[in-house]
Symmetry: C2
Subunit: 141 residues, 2 copies
DNA sequence: CTATCTGCAAAAAGTTTGCATGTTC
DNA sequence: GAACATGCAAACTTTTTGCAGATAG
């Protein structure tokens, strides 16, 4: 039984064809996808699939932390499968490819400095990097 | 002459009433505002103001880095005046208030670790913290 | 068999564009 | 006065909702 199925079941949700189609399309994806793109890629798997169900599946998965929302500075976002544990995404500004990384201790320093400067009690963070992936780097030269 | 006027002029844009109304509403704001909210707050200043001009002003200001887009995990965003220099925002999850902080060196460690882990060349980042502001902290107890 | 989920259509948000008029420089 | 910016209406895009029928447990 796949991990996501256990997660859904544990939270009292059902394992359905549309949800499976969406999550498998995400698993195959090489970069974050928009709901529209996901629909296209998931339809071969479940031809009756509608865009609405993609949205509903994504919102559910995001709530359960099975998928991650990927933002860009100007706001539009895509979805990618989230690795278990606490990781962040880095997006290639040229090709859109994405990788994940984890920075346990280093973020702690940032959080502490921010708390000292602002007096806020920090409870969460959103960190995302932008850059150029190795493949694009090579292509540029 | 206000700083934003100099910035606009230097970039070849005009100082207009709608733009002034929007930026002054932002200056008065105690938290990030949506375009719709900004319209309401800027209209007293310039009654003919339309929502479209708010959008156009915000897009321009964002391009010139005069305002910062503030994201939430689920994507919707607001706008706030950007401090000069490189700062980040922390948003209170209870009341929406926002503060800025800067973490020069500490982010560098994060960037280096990410580069080492992913092989990407990092060129930018989006870091935003969430938490509870001092006022809400007090109110809770 | 029952509660949950889906798909459709339609509504609701949110954002952008075309164009005639008004403003800034 | 010329170029730029505005405001309106309307188009477009993106996301949500209502509901009858389908499906998982």
């Amino acid at each position: 039984m796949a991990d996501w199925e256990a997660m859904l079941a544990a939270a009292g949700f059902r394992i359905t064809e549309p949800r499976r189609a969406v999550i498998e399309a995400l698993a195959r994806a090489e970069r974050p996808l928009s709901p529209e793109e996901l629909l296209e890629r998931a339809q071969p798997e479940h031809s009756r699939l509608g865009l609405v169900s993609v949205y509903r599946a994504l919102n559910l998965f995001a709530r359960l932390q099975l998928v991650r929302r990927v933002h860009h500075e100007d706001g539009c976002h895509g979805y990618m499968l989230a690795s278990p544990g606490h990781t962040h995404a880095i997006v290639c500004q040229r090709c859109g490819n994405t990788a994940e990384f984890s920075v346990e201790g280093d973020v702690q320093a940032v959080v502490e400095r921010a708390q000292a400067q602002t007096g806020y009690r920090v409870s969460g963070h959103m960190l995302q990097l932008f850059g150029i992936c190795p493949a694009c780097e090579r292509a540029e030269h």
